[in-house]
């Protein structure tokens, strides 16, 4: 029994590794047709699902050479021209990649100061009871399903934002701000936890020297917990990159590069959520390509935050 249980627990633990490797290879092999077709050019191409003429030149010369051909022949040539022989559908990932990065940046810029404020409030200002109550409330904010953020954002938050800043109701800005609200609790909780690791002796000696609370936070707590705070920011960034449902309601889901912050665009998860249903062939493969990019990106960012920053907090 002992042996069986040990083997069983070992295989369950290894399942994590197997699933992750499985995800990577499945995405890779599903994306392969698109990778072979578009290569790295995919990353810089802003067109999505557009027919592009491949070699119009030979077709034109064919017509020119065949000047004596009668009307019927011309008709046939025209039909040939419209056949898929000379056109191909092109998919490029630039717009969703830009949309993902920009909406995440807006979310970070919005959430960062508020999350820091909340963490200071919870760790240093509020009494135990208040801190516990507010802490639970903030964690409940994190528990609300993302689809609820999307609906609320679309019908209640977006109109206010577009009144304030002009532009479209569904836009990079509204998506980024709602994304910011969603990562707020997460960032605040980790920052509070790293702030709490500051030894009381350090704080007390600063207070004894007559430092104000602001100075203690700025000169004692912040330098001490800096590594953990940066880790929490990067971790929140990794989360924001992959958020789907709330952004799907708010970003507009159009394949155009936003000229202004209030323009609609699309992000990688939203592209997958919206287009997966009707996609097939190269289109579906391109979506997997996007998914692979997102997976590698968020995996890299999250493990960087975990191993480089948060590990050092633990030790």
């Amino acid at each position: 029994m002992e042996k069986i249980f040990q083997k069983l627990s070992f295989s369950s633990a290894s399942l994590v590794l197997i699933i992750l490797i499985g995800i990577f290879f499945t995405l890779f092999s599903a994306a392969k047709p698109a990778i072979e077709e578009f290569g790295l050019h995919f990353l810089g191409d802003p067109t999505w699902n557009q027919e592009v003429r491949l070699d119009t030149a030979p077709a034109a010369t064919a017509v020119a050479d065949d000047t004596i051909a009668d009307e019927d022949d011309m008709m046939m040539l025209d039909e040939d021209d419209e056949d898929s022989v000379n056109t191909k559908t092109v998919f490029g990932g630039l717009v969703p990649i830009i949309g993902t990065l920009l909406s995440t940046l807006i979310a970070l810029a919005f959430a960062l100061p508020i999350a820091m404020g909340i963490a200071v409030f919870l760790a240093e200002m509020a009494s135990k009871t208040v801190s516990k109550f507010v802490g639970i409330a903030i964690e409940l904010l994190a528990a609300i399903p993302s689809i609820i953020f999307g609906m609320w954002g679309l019908y209640y938050f977006a109109p206010i934002i577009s009144d304030l800043f002009g532009g479209f109701q569904v836009s990079l800005l509204t998506a980024g701000l709602v994304l910011g609200i969603m990562i707020l609790p997460f960032m605040a909780a980790i920052t509070r936890d790293s702030m709490n690791t500051t030894p009381d002796v350090l704080k007390e000696s600063a207070y004894a020297l007559g430092a104000t609370k602001f100075e203690v936070v700025k000169d004692i707590i912040f330098p001490f917990s800096k590594v953990g705070i940066i880790g929490s920011i990067i971790l929140a960034l990794g989360r924001a990159l992959g958020e789907t449902m709330a952004v799907a309601f708010l970003i507009g889901a159009v394949y155009t590069i936003p000229e202004k912050i209030t323009d609609p665009t699309i992000s990688i998860p939203v592209a997958m959520a919206v287009n997966f249903g009707e996609a097939s062939g190269l289109g579906e493969s391109s979506l997997f390509y996007l998914g692979l990019i997102l997976f590698v990106l968020s995996f890299g960012i999250i493990s960087f935050a975990k191993f480089y920053f948060l590990k050092r907090v633990k030790s």
Binding site: A13, L17, G117, M151, W152, F214, A273
Partner: protein, 268 residues
């Protein structure tokens, strides 16, 4: 004096941040309450979506999350036990880190993965695929909780068990797990609450169904996916239904969440 003013300003801004956070929570909850309660009728629980109700969706969502729990909870717990109790050295440490990273993996990616392995080969959306997607999301969360709860169990308890001549797995199952039971229960409830509200992994795995269909081989009714579809429809009646469904979903998730927290609080 300037220092004191700066200090006051700083403290005021911190308190304001906390108020902003609470404000958003209140705003969302009040919106849900006002919109949701207005469209809530008893008939929603008695009819399926085809007849304008939500019965099949609520049942379907609970079945999906429940089955995912039935797979994910034991697997995650046993894996967590390996990491904390059996694992020696680098491999256990590696799996722990990997599972932490997997916990933050984008849920839409997991949906796409399951689509490729469990939907595309079988020719269409099915409930099994949804269950697989949700259980993949659940496993790392359970591993994380089990691992950290087991780390709180004093080493002496294990030594006492071994000294009595019990084999290691008996010690783990009868002593260590019992001691960490409450904490693990909380973690399990929080994980359940989290996956019960997921939409993205279900979008193209189990999709949703308008009918009271409980056959896992076909597309399976889901509250969250239907909210997404209904909210994007132009008719006011669909949107009202989406609000009612959102209200029910959020209350379900928040109540499970609070129950989980209440259990741990009682222990202390």
């Amino acid at each position: 004096m300037k220092r004191l003013y700066i200090n006051k300003l700083f403290l005021a801004l911190s308190a304001l941040s906390a108020l902003i956070g609470l404000g958003f929570l209140a705003w969302i909850l009040i919106t849900l309450f006002v919109q949701g309660v207005g469209s809530l009728h008893l008939s929603l629980f008695l009819n399926d979506l085809v007849e304008g109700g939500l019965r099949n969706l609520i049942v379907g969502q609970l079945i999906l999350a429940g089955l995912a729990g039935a797979i994910g909870i034991p697997l995650g717990m046993v894996a967590g036990i390996y990491i904390r109790e059996y694992g020696r050295g680098k491999y256990a440490e590696f799996i722990r880190d990997l599972s932490d990273v997997m916990m933050s993996a984008p849920s839409i990616i997991i949906g796409a993965f399951v689509y490729a392995i469990a939907v595309a080969p079988f020719g269409g959306a099915n409930g099994f695929a949804g269950v697989i997607a949700l259980s993949i999301m659940m496993i790392p969360i359970i591993i994380n909780t089990t691992d950290s709860m087991l780390s709180l169990v004093p080493q002496e308890l294990r030594e006492a068990g071994i000294a009595l001549g019990a084999s290691k797995y008996r010690v783990i199952l009868d002593i260590v797990i019992k001691a960490a039971k409450v904490g693990i229960m909380t973690g399990v409830l929080l994980a359940f609450a989290r996956i019960a509200g997921e939409t993205a992994p279900l979008l193209f795995t189990s999709e949703t169904s308008n009918y009271f269909n409980l056959d896992l081989r076909e597309s399976f009714p889901s509250l969250t996916v239907s909210i997404y579809n209904l909210a994007n429809e132009p008719e006011q009646s669909s949107r009202d239904l989406a609000w009612a469904a959102s209200f029910i979903l959020t209350m379900m998730v928040l109540v499970i969440n609070l129950v989980g927290r209440y259990i741990t609080r009682n222990k202390k």
